[in-house]
């Protein structure tokens, strides 16, 4: 799973959000490193909806424009959870190896 996809699903994990909400949330989650633009966001939303990972929840009219809220589906939550587990395992392995390397270098083991 690519990073923007992971971050979009993460943004929707706590509850439904509209497009602009996803953009600001992704920026916050990534510490300002990933700033989604509208074209990228809606291409991703279109793909994720086609894959059954998200769905639109409701619409409201704000300033004469439709604002659509998206939410994770059960399948989307499962995929995000599996991806988060995988990344956690990799991160844990990386930290463990770094500690081992540090210990070996300083003759602590």
């Amino acid at each position: 799973m690519q990073e923007p996809t992971f971050l979009i699903l993460t943004a929707l994990a706590a509850g439904p959000q509209h497009g602009y909400g996803v953009i600001t949330d992704v920026e916050g989650i990534s510490g300002g490193r990933v700033v989604l633009r509208a074209g990228t966001l809606y291409a991703a939303l279109d793909r994720l909806r086609a894959e059954g990972l998200i769905e639109s929840e409701r619409e409201e009219i704000v300033d004469g424009r439709v604002r659509r809220y998206y939410r994770l589906t059960g399948e989307g939550a499962t995929r995000l959870s599996a991806e988060a587990d995988r990344l956690t395992r990799h991160a844990t392995a990386a930290v463990t190896r770094l500690r081992q390397g540090f210990s070996t270098a300083w003759g602590l083991s």
Partner: protein, 311 residues
Amino acid sequence: MSELEARYRRLLEWYPRAHRAVHEEEMLGVLMASAEPGRARPRLADSADLIRGAILIRLRTAFGAESGPSWRRAFGLAGLVAALVLTGEQIGNAINAWIYGFDRWSGAIASAVALASVLIVVLIRYAPRWPAVAATWAWSGGLIAWNLSMLLPLDFSGTYSFSSSQLLPVVLMLTPYALTALLVTFRVERPAMPYRRMLGWTALFAAAVVPQNLSLGLLGYEWDTVLLMPPLTVVAVAAGCAARSASGRRTILLAAAPVGLLAGFDLIVLVMTGSWLFGWLGLLIPAVVMLVVARRGSRVPRAGVPEAGRG
């Protein structure tokens, strides 16, 4: 509407119409909310990102998993459409053979060929896949062999002035037969086309083929283009109507080569032999007709319409 919004709307025209109908206002809301105050033009990066997103969505709509049913319908229809055009041409040729035939056999032979083609169309439309495929290949092979036996002894150089090879017109002429059989081979599901529509378009195409024989020297070689155009124009109108549906657009893509070669052969020959203006005009006008018919008949779905039928 602000200048910035108008510019964003123009960029959103890159997106598929069905996508725009559902998401345009929503995307505009996001774009306007993201823009810094006072900005009149979209940033270059935003413009590029919108175009890239539109291309991705168009590609997914055209070839993604959701498009599977449309492609299956299109593969079913493409072989039938090519066979219908071939049959229409042969019916037109049979009528011409009865009118202008040099001997009493020419009309009878042309009619028998047309009748065999009608039978093949019926098989493609109603028979199970493999009997239809076998019959179409046998028919296609027979037509190629028969046409070769008549065409190869002819000398085209006086008529067409081909500078490269005389084989080219023969190949162009016979390729549609093989392509039609190939399309029928990939038919996964039986083509769904009402028989009245089949009859109507085929009759119209056959009628459009008939005047071609009037062209021999009557108006001068290049002005004869006008008489060569009706078959391709009939095909263009039919394609314009078909272009309004997802499976229709895919059918056009699949059947374009055999149908284009069949209906536009004489015009292609005009282009190849150096009659650029008349040849290209003859090809270009039906293409414009197709676009106009497709555009006039397409309905824009309103926001909130389910997205399942797009593509």
